[in-house]
């Protein structure tokens, strides 16, 4: 296990960004960043792709000195008129929090009929899950979620933090990014395994909306198996329980399940909700011990480092991640191949259907080529 107090020096998303995504999952229509213009710009843009409005009070030097109470209350009124929101989130930043800005006062000043979740967060927390936690606590205070959901989320967050410390982005002081193994080579290997009649476990353990693309890998493997006439050799696990999590997260699970069904793909084992990726590991381990001990290889997608290796020792493990810094930690865990779906996240925002992955596309093409060659 990693040291508790290592100081991580590679760039990571901040708690502010984590709070923004959490507000998105709570289905706010508008998120206001109370701070300098440009703060968290890249993620703000991505969230706009996902259909929520992100605006900023654009505090300048004057704002830093005199505070931005008026700027914030004016902006609250403005967005209320512009977007007619049903739920608004206000997110603090380093600048506004360091000068001690109160988020509740401007909300009172604006006096809107719309509920507002004020999240007093800055980017100075070593674990960015702190941003999620503060956002959820604020949502609970605002009556948007109940205590039960808050408690459930707290457990998940703690586990998510532990997963990152154990084998993830917080496991080492510095992690080198990598593009992972060649998709072509790994696709060939998977197809050959299937051809040889090897038994395959697909484990999709995706974080929320990223599932829209990781699901495609499950789909592609099943399609290839079908074409090779070995469908029965594939067992699918996925965290697509749509009765768990925040509203938006449940919706993703429903959408993905619908697509699986439409494509005739059976999910044999539902291993949890789409926000449960940090805690599915144990369940997967138990299932393997009980029923799938004799399988030859596993393809794990999403957050592969959350699945313990204990019961996977006898299998060839191939994993697919969207984090370039996750490659070396996964190899260290004993995965024989690690593939990176570069830029996966932006492609899974604002969608409600499975989107094609590069690895899936590669497998499909390669199978076609192989069959064409055999026929010729």
């Amino acid at each position: 296990m990693a040291e508790k107090d290592i100081s991580i020096i590679h760039p990571r998303p901040s708690s502010i960004v984590a709070a923004l995504y959490t507000l998105r999952d709570l289905n706010v229509d508008v998120a206001i960043l109370h701070g300098p213009p440009g703060c968290s710009f890249k993620h703000a843009r991505l969230l706009e792709e996902d259909g929520i409005h992100v605006v900023t009070t654009a505090l300048d030097e004057n704002g830093f000195v005199f505070g931005g109470r008026e700027e914030l209350s004016t902006l609250l009124c403005k967005v209320n008129e512009m977007f007619n929101p049903k739920l608004i989130g206000v997110v603090g930043t380093c600048a506004s929090m360091i000068i001690g800005e109160e988020l509740s006062e401007p909300v009172q000043d604006a006096n809107l009929d719309v509920p507002v979740i004020g999240v007093e967060v800055h980017a100075g927390y070593p674990n960015n899950t702190k941003g999620v936690l503060i956002a959820l606590e604020s949502a609970c205070d605002a009556g948007v979620i109940d205590d039960e959901e808050l408690e459930r989320q707290k457990v998940l967050l703690e586990e998510a933090t532990n997963v990152e410390k154990r084998h993830g982005a917080a496991s080492k002081e510095y992690l080198v990014p990598s593009r992972g193994d060649l998709k072509y080579k790994v696709a060939e290997k998977v197809i050959n395994y299937l051809k040889e009649g090897k038994k395959c476990l697909t484990i999709m353990n995706a974080k929320k909306e990223t599932g829209y693309m990781f699901a495609d890998i499950t789909v592609a493997i099943n399609e290839v198996a079908e074409q090779l006439g070995v469908s029965d050799n594939v067992i699918n696990m996925a965290n697509v329980d749509d009765t768990l999590g925040l509203p938006r997260v449940r919706h993703h699970a429903t959408s993905i399940m619908n697509d699986f069904r439409e494509k005739g793909i059976e999910i044999h084992e539902i291993i949890g909700g789409m926000d449960e990726y940090p805690i599915t590991g144990e369940k997967v381990s138990e299932l393997i011990a009980e029923k799938y001990n004799d399988f030859d290889f596993a393809v794990i997608t999403g957050v592969p480092h959350a699945i313990p290796m204990d019961n996977l020792q006898n299998m060839d493990v191939i994993s697919v991640t969207n984090g370039p810094r996750q490659v070396y930690p996964l190899k260290d865990m004993g995965h024989s191949n690690v593939i990176v779906e570069i830029d996966l996240h932006p492609k899974t925002l604002g969608v409600s259907n499975i989107v094609e992955s590069e690895f899936g596309a590669t497998m499909r093409e390669l199978t076609k080529d192989m069959q064409d060659a055999e026929e010729a």
């Binding site: 004057n62 830093f64 000195v65 005199f66 000068i99």
Partner: protein, 263 residues
């Protein structure tokens, strides 16, 4: 002569602003070109040089997004002393420290006459609560620091802490000024303290009602009561400051020693 840029530190309320303005007036009397820059959000440094009038602060104007010019923020007071107030947010709001940094940056940009001054006095608030309040020193604007104290334990305790702070940021101390609160053996105590930290006592200013009377009417002692004995003391202090050319990186005393000294 080389330009003197001084700051007077000391416990809150000990008399920094009134000493600063009286010294400024005394130097102006001698024909020196003097500027006083109030770095306290209270904006009370230059008021007795301006006949009790308050001036627009730099931050007042910046707040209104006015493209400030020298004449907007530099106001001539008693005998041509140039008065500047940084200003700041209301207590409890925003960040006064950041305000000082921003305002001084602006002042240096728009104020041409700053280079012609013989003496610039930065009047800072007593309690240095964050980086902004030491910005004048940290950014190399101040080249001599003075500490004002009485012979009481708490002001000396504060003075001692300031010595630690100055040493930490490598800023030499040019002297200790005693502003009396009529404690027994006061001059002796402060003199001893000055020597033990490696510095020297510059002046002993008695506690006189007239200082407060002049202040209430909006004047320095030098202007309103030039013949009073305390006016003479300020003159001597002004002279001592203008001719002072030695400074030391101060050491500091153990708390036990401080108590002993004031016992």
């Amino acid at each position: 002569m080389e330009q003197k840029r001084i700051a007077i530190y000391g416990k809150g309320g000990i008399g920094k602003s009134s000493t600063a303005s009286n010294v400024a007036a005394a130097c102006a009397d001698e024909g020196y070109k003097v500027m006083i820059i109030g770095c306290d959000p209270k904006s009370d440094s230059s008021i007795t040089l301006l006949g009790g009038k308050r001036i627009q602060t730099i931050l007042d104007l910046l707040r209104q997004k006015i493209d400030v010019k020298e004449e907007d923020i530099v106001h001539e007071g008693y005998k041509g002393v140039k008065c500047v107030e940084v200003g700041g947010p209301e207590p409890g709001i925003g960040c006064a420290g950041r305000g000082i940094i921003v305002a001084i940056q602006r002042l240096r940009k728009v104020c041409k006459s700053i280079d012609d001054m013989d003496l610039i006095i930065y009047d800072v608030p007593g309690d240095i609560v964050c980086g902004g309040f030491v910005a004048p020193i940290r950014k190399g604007l101040v080249n001599e620091a003075y500490i004002l104290t009485s012979g009481e334990y708490m002001p000396l305790y504060a003075a001692n802490n300031i010595c630690k702070g100055l040493a930490k940021i490598d800023t030499p101390l040019s002297g200790i000024i005693c502003n009396s609160r009529s404690v027994t053996r006061e001059e002796e105590i402060v003199k001893k303290f000055s020597e033990e930290i490696g510095s020297k006592l510059m002046a002993f200013i008695p506690k006189e009602q007239i200082v407060q009377d002049c202040e209430r009417d909006g004047f320095s002692v030098l202007e309103k009561a030039p013949d009073s004995s305390v006016a003479g003391v300020y003159r001597e202090l002004a002279h001592a400051i203008m001719s002072n050319d030695s400074s030391v990186l101060p050491s500091s005393l153990e708390d036990e020693r401080l108590r002993e000294l004031t016992r």
